[in-house]
């Protein structure tokens, strides 16, 4: 048994033993679970993948005369302004208003088009670039100003933090297209007649695959977020811990999620990238690393899980319904081989998460902890384990795998 306080003491003395999840998995093969437990204090997991339920809170600071913003655009991308006077929320998938983007599409080399979204603006702000702000106010006795335009950078605004309502999806799906029309999806292009398959979770190295029941992380756990420090804030939207699970406790489809928060001013645009999925829309790719404290031997047991031990469902996107037909389950080992067999056909598979950068996140976090620059926190409340999933218009998560 270890406590977080003991681990932190070791971190500050430079004596903590820190491994990446991949190193741990190899070690367990060599020396077994008990010996690995005796040696290691922290296991670093990481992912770098599109996480579209993400966004930034911004407080602009007050203008003179002051304005109560009701509508606002950052580089023509609308930001939500239904808070206090100069508080904004910029969502990662926000796109230029259709009327604006249609005009701009006809101007060659115009910076704003439908491919640029909130995620790109967030990346640019983090990179220190200047963003054009246009705001319309409701004139009141307190806030007489009717409109405002300015150029802002992260250094000319008060708060700028990411608050992502759903990140770190514990497992996801594999998309294929069994129809005969080319499909543009949130997993990228899916070619007809099972032309290709795309998966979006980095598998056994992914944070929540290594703590399947969220036993050692919870609300208040400190994480690596986009190159800076973040925290788990709450359960994520669509959090579905009751998903069916294998005996090793990993879920067979989309399951737990967390909401996370962190100061964007400290982040690095290397780990926060605006992205665009053709004919689907803009999104954001984020590097998130979660350190798992090795409090009990069970932690090692769960982290030892390998790509061959975890599965994802293959879902046919050609039927645009909430419950889509599936082609059964496939292991991440098969997915990472680049080919899967479907209906007797060999189908090429591509990831959408960057496995290379997911590894780098884990390595970067390991270095920070090893250098005594990143300590762990005790969580203050657990993430609920009993949330059921209300079917309304959920996406990709309602799977009938019987």
């Amino acid at each position: 048994m270890r406590t977080i306080a003991e681990i932190n003491d070791k971190i500050l003395q430079g004596k903590a033993v820190v491994w990446t999840a991949e190193e741990l998995k190899i070690k367990v093969q060599e020396i077994g679970i008990s010996k690995a437990f005796k040696q290691v204090d922290v296991i670093c997991t990481g992912t770098f993948e599109p996480m579209e339920s993400s966004g930034a809170i911004i407080n602009l600071g007050h203008t003179d005369p002051p304005i109560k913003i009701r509508q606002c655009w950052l580089d023509s991308i609308p930001a939500y302004a239904g808070f206090g006077a100069v508080d904004l929320y910029l969502g990662a998938t926000a796109m230029a208003d259709y009327s604006i983007s249609e005009t701009l599409e006809r101007i060659p080399d115009s910076k704003t088009d439908r491919e640029r979204g909130g995620g790109h603006v967030i990346e640019d702000l983090i990179a220190g670039k200047s963003i054009h702000l246009r705001a319309i106010g409701q004139q009141t006795d307190c806030y007489p100003r009717a409109s405002f335009e300015n150029n802002i950078t992260k250094n000319t605004i008060n708060q700028f933090y990411l608050f992502n309502p759903r990140n770190l999806y514990q497992n996801f799906i594999v998309g294929v297209n069994g129809g005969d029309r080319h499909l543009h999806t949130y997993l990228g292009p899916l070619q007809p007649r099972l032309g290709n398959a795309v998966y979006s979770n980095p598998g056994a190295i992914s944070p929540l695959m290594n703590d399947p029941d969220l036993d050692v992380i919870g609300i208040g756990s400190k994480i690596f977020l986009g190159g800076g420090v973040g925290y788990i804030a709450w359960e994520g939207t669509q959090h579905f811990p009751l998903q069916k699970r294998l005996p090793n406790r990993t879920p067979i489809g989309p399951a737990a999620t967390v909401a996370i928060i962190g100061d964007a001013k400290q982040m690095n645009s290397r780990w926060i990238r605006g992205c665009y999925l053709k004919n689907y829309g803009p999104s954001i790719m984020i590097g998130v690393g979660v350190p798992l404290p090795v409090l009990r031997e069970e932690v090692i047991l769960h982290c030892a899980v390998r790509d061959r031990d975890i599965v994802a469902p293959i879902v046919d996107f050609s039927i645009p319904r909430r419950v889509r037909p599936t082609f059964g389950l496939v292991t991440y080992q098969q997915l990472k081989s680049g080919r899967i067999k479907l209906e007797g056909k060999s189908v090429r598979v591509a990831p959408l998460a960057s496995i290379a950068l997911s590894r780098k996140v884990a390595e970067e976090l390991k270095e920070l902890i090893g250098a005594g620059k990143f300590t762990l926190t005790e969580f203050v409340a657990p993430i609920p384990k009993d949330r059921s999933f209300v079917p309304q218009d959920r996406r990709g998560s309602s799977l009938n795998l019987d």
Binding site: Q191, N196, S283, M285, S337, R348, P351, A353, S354
Partner: protein
């Protein structure tokens, strides 16, 4: 054999049924990889010629007599390594496996010799890291 060439047409020959001629007179199949042909403008075609080596040579000579510029330098795909995040999405659409993920490092590997400049990878890349110089 197969040979990839870029054909540049003067305005006058744009309307010529070039692939039909190559097939009928030279027994050369011309697989169009990329076309940029607009009315009253210089046209560009990237084609893969398939046939006997002598017949391909004869076909190229015939096209040159028709005032069509034939160059073996076709457009090239460029990958911006600073921008690429090694997500691998492009590897799923590349028909020739010119784009693959290294099985160990999971980093993107581009094998230029396999690329047929079909350009399917360009719009697929979520961070716009792929471009062509044509």
């Amino acid at each position: 054999m197969k040979k990839r060439v870029t054909l540049t047409f003067p305005q006058t020959t744009v309307h010529m049924p070039i692939t039909y001629k190559l097939a009928k007179d030279f027994n050369v199949a011309a697989n169009i990889i990329r076309a940029q042909v607009a009315p009253n403008q210089i046209g560009k075609l990237v084609v893969e010629l398939q046939g006997d080596i002598d017949e391909i040579q004869a076909a190229i000579e015939w096209m040159r007599i028709q005032d069509i510029d034939v160059s073996s330098a076709s457009g090239e795909i460029a990958i911006d390594e600073d921008s690429c995040v090694d997500c691998g999405l492009c590897t799923g659409v590349c028909p020739t496996q010119a784009l693959i993920l290294d099985p160990e490092s999971f980093q993107l590997v581009f094998k230029r010799s396999r690329c047929v400049v079909c350009e399917q990878c360009i719009p697929t890349c979520p961070v716009g890291a792929i471009s062509t110089n044509l």
